[in-house]
Amino acid sequence: MIQVKNLTKEFGRIDNGGGVLALSDIDFQVRDNEFVTVIGPSGCGKTTLLRIIAGLIPYQHGEVSIDSHPVVGPGPERAVVFQNFALLPWTDVLGNVTFGLDVRGATKRDSQAKAKELIKLVGLEGFEQRLPKELSGGMQQRVGLARALAVSPRILLMDEPFGALDEQTRRLLQEQLLQLWERERKTVVFITHSMEEAVMLGDRVMLMTPRPGKVKEMIDIPLKRPRPPDIEKSPAFVEIKEYLWENLRAMQTHQS
C-alpha cells in the first residue's frame, strides 16, 4: 500500500521569497492491486508527486511510505515508466529492457531470458536488435514498459506515459495496458492529462488543483472490469468524464 500523509513539497526556499510551493497537504492512499489515475491542470504538481513516490526527489514535510516503510529513495518494489521514454540510444531493445536487471546484478542469461519474455509480452518480438531511434514512439514506450516490468515491481509508477504519442497509438497502448494489468494486477499510479484515459484505466481518479498542488477529490470509477474497448460509450463513463471536465474547466477559467 502506498500511503501519503500531509505531504508538502517546496522548490527553493519559500521563506526567502524565492521558492515555489509545488504540493501542499497531500493526503491519499493507494491500496494493493489498485489502479489510481491522477489528473489535474498543468502546474498541479502531479509529476512532482510521482517523482516523490518514486524516491527520485526529496520532500520537506509529511510522510510518504510503502507498506509502512518510509520512502527515502528508489526501491526494487517500484518501477517508473517515463513520459519521454528515457531509453538508452546506444543500445538495442534487448539492452534497454535488460537495463534494470543488469544494474541489479542479474546474470546475463537470466536477464536476457526475462527480457525476451517481456519483449514478447509487449508485442515487440523480432525487434530485439533494433536501436530506439529505429522505432516509432509507440514502440519506444512499449520498450519503456517492458523495461519497467522486467524488474518484477509490485508498484508501477507511470508519468504521462502515453502523453507524447498520437491518438491512435495512445488508444492501442491503453487497451494493451488494461489487458496486461488484468493479468498481473499490479499497483499502479498513473499520471495523465487526458480525461478519457483517467476514467478508462483507473479504479479511482485523483483530481488535483494547481498552485499549490492539492488533492481536490478522489473519485471512484464504478465501471466493472475487464473493461471493453467501447467502454467510452457507457453512461457512467460519460458522466464521470463530464464531471472531471466541469472541474478542470473551472480551474482553468479561474486561472485566466
Binding site: 527520485l56 517500484r78 517508473v80 538508452l88 540510444p89 546506444w90 537495463f99 541489479r104 536501436l131 531511434k133
Partner: protein
C-alpha cells in the same frame, strides 16, 4: 554516314565500358575523386608557381618530394620520427588520462567545476608555448620537456569538451538510472560515459591536433631533437624544400593520428550517426 555513326557508337560504348570498369576497380577514385583532384590540382599549381616565380621560399613541389625521398632513404627521417613519435604518444596519453578524468569530474560535480574552471579556461586560452621556458627550467633538455609541452597543448581542450559532454547528458537518462537503483559508479559507467562519448571524441580529435603542434613547437624551441629540430636546422639554412618535406611528414602524422581516433570513434559511437 550511317557506318560512321555505327563505328562511333562502338567506340563510345567500348570507351564507356573501359571507363566504367576502371572506375569500378578503383574504389579510391570513385569515393575520393574530388579530393584526389583537389590535391593533384594543388600540386600542379604549386609546381608551376615554384618554377615560374623562382622564389627562394617556394621551391617547386617536385623538389620537395625529392628532398622527402632523400630524407627517407638516408634514414634521417626515421630516427627523428621515432623520437618525435615517442614523445607524442607519451604526452598525448598523459593528456588523455588527465583530460578525461578531470573533465568527467568537472562535468559531474559542480564543486569540482567551480574549483578548476577558471584555471582550465585560462590555460586553454593562454598560448601553450609560453610555458616552454618554464618546462625547460624544470626538466632541462630531456624528453620530459617535450612531453610536458605536448601535454599542455592538448589536455585542456579535452578537459573542456569532456566536462561539457558529461554536463549535457540528458538528465532524464540519469533519473531513469536512479529509478532502477543505480549507484553513482553505475551512473558513470552505464549512463554518463556512453552518452557523452560522441562529444568526448570531438575533444580527443582536437586534442590530437594540438598534440602534434605541441610536439613540433616543443622540439623547435626547447628540446632541439626530432622533426622540430630538423625543421629548425634547415629553416636556419633557408632550405625551403627540406622544411616543406618535414612539414609533409608532420601533416601525415596528423592525418594518421586523426584517422586512428576517427576509426575508434566510429566503432564506439555508431548509434549517434
Amino acid at each position: 554516314m550511317k557506318s560512321m555513326t555505327a563505328s562511333e557508337a562502338v567506340i563510345k560504348t567500348t570507351a564507356a565500358k573501359n571507363i566504367g570498369s576502371s572506375f569500378a576497380s578503383h574504389w579510391l577514385l570513385r569515393h575520393w575523386a574530388l579530393e584526389i583532384f583537389a590535391l593533384f590540382a594543388g600540386a600542379v599549381i604549386w609546381e608551376s608557381l615554384g618554377w615560374g616565380l623562382g622564389l627562394q621560399w617556394l621551391p617547386p613541389f617536385s623538389q620537395v618530394i625529392v628532398a622527402l625521398f632523400h630524407f627517407v632513404v638516408s634514414g634521417v627521417i626515421l630516427s627523428n620520427l621515432q623520437s618525435s613519435l615517442m614523445s607524442l604518444i607519451v604526452g598525448f596519453a598523459l593528456s588523455l588520462i588527465f583530460g578525461l578524468v578531470l573533465g568527467a569530474l568537472m562535468g559531474r560535480y559542480r564543486i569540482v567545476e567551480k574549483a578548476f574552471d577558471v584555471y582550465v579556461h585560462a590555460l586553454f586560452v593562454c598560448p601553450s608555448i609560453l610555458f616552454a621556458p618554464i618546462f625547460f627550467a624544470i626538466f632541462g633538455l630531456s624528453d620530459a620537456s617535450r612531453v610536458a609541452i605536448i601535454f599542455v597543448y592538448s589536455t585542456f581542450v579535452i578537459v573542456i569538451n569532456t566536462a561539457t559532454a558529461i554536463r549535457t547528458v540528458d538528465p532524464s537518462l540519469v533519473e531513469m538510472a536512479y529509478s532502477f537503483g543505480c549507484r553513482e559508479r553505475q551512473i558513470f559507467t552505464r549512463i554518463l560515459l556512453p552518452a557523452s562519448l560522441p562529444l568526448v571524441f570531438a575533444g580527443i580529435r582536437l586534442g590530437m591536433g594540438r598534440a602534434v603542434k605541441g610536439m613540433i613547437n616543443g622540439e623547435m624551441l626547447i628540446a632541439f631533437v626530432g622533426l622540430g629540430a630538423l625543421a629548425q636546422k634547415y629553416g636556419a639554412q633557408f632550405d625551403a624544400a627540406r622544411v616543406f618535406a618535414i612539414a609533409m611528414v608532420v601533416l601525415i602524422i596528423g592525418l594518421v593520428g586523426n584517422a586512428i581516433v576517427q576509426t575508434l570513434e566510429h566503432r564506439l559511437t555508431r548509434w549517434a550517426d
